[in-house]
Point group: C2
């Protein structure tokens, strides 16, 4: 990923990445299907973490609490290395092909969380609605976090955004505040 | 689109599409940047319709009501020609490249709705949360509608899904119904 940041994603070859990582090209391709996948390794990890968090939440938790807690755990993972996340986000944002793959990974992540909720006995469409809403809140919170370099804590922003979502959905927030 | 359904998306050339539509290739490219765009013309129309509906909603409407009404209007548009929507969905679903573009268009649509909400004076992050949640509900409702051929009414499924979302978000639905 350093190489992508230094010389651009398009200009970086798999041979260069493998060399920097001390791997042969063959070993590289055993781990990643192509050079784009390097950037989405974290997204896969995030998906595993989300599914795990949903499965291990207390039995008494509501669907939305389960989803909220799971995404906060994912946020905490990203928070561990904010600089890395920011560099990666800049690389992905600058390349339409990578932005596309990012959207695909996010969609897959929503489907995985919905599946984990169904495993807990949450019926459809509630499982998909809760999961997709979780992804929606994550997108908004992540965009806020990444655009404000001083923002300290992604899990806190996620929690706040989830609370805000409840206000928005329950209409405690009217449309035109100027009235 | 008939051609895509008949002979597959990959096998269809712009020349064939233009001929079927009674256009020259040059005219085709004045309207669409490439052959994929033909399939996303409806998505662009849907985006215009959503932005229009958000802008023209009554001043007293809450953010979530505005979003709900706008997506119901979009659902009504799709409902006008369900067979066309189903054929298009089958073509897009069968092709990874088209699925990617679909996700990009949906993301753009969420951003456009958020922008229209801000125009109404809804502050961030409420505007983005309401818009992204609207897209999430639309995705779930659309998937239900498309997977059940007997489903009569997309706007009704959208309304029902929006109601269900409120239940999910406000925790009226607990996680494990077996208890």
């Amino acid at each position: 990923m350093e190489l992508y940041a230094e010389q651009g994603f398009e200009q970086t070859t798999v041979a260069e990445i493998a060399e920097r990582a001390g791997l042969t090209e063959r070993t590289f391709f055993r781990h990643f299907t192509d050079k784009r996948e390097v950037l989405f390794y974290g997204t896969e990890m995030m998906q595993h973490l989300l599914v795990e968090a949903v499965a291990s939440a207390p039995a008494s938790a509501t669907a939305m609490d389960v989803v909220g807690t799971a995404f906060e755990a994912a946020g905490a993972m990203l928070q561990e290395n904010p600089e890395r996340v920011r560099v990666r986000d800049a690389i992905v944002s600058a390349n339409p092909e990578l932005r596309e793959r990012e959207l695909i990974k996010l969609a897959a992540l929503g489907a995985a969380v919905a599946g984990a909720l169904r495993e807990r006995g949450i019926p459809e469409p509630a499982a998909s609605l809760a999961a997709e809403t979780g992804v929606a809140v994550f997108k908004v919170a992540f965009a806020r976090w990444i655009s404000e370099p001083g923002q300290p804590d992604l899990p806190a922003i996620l929690r706040e955004s989830m609370g805000k979502l409840k206000d928005v959905v329950t209409d405690r927030l009217v449309a035109a505040p100027q009235r």
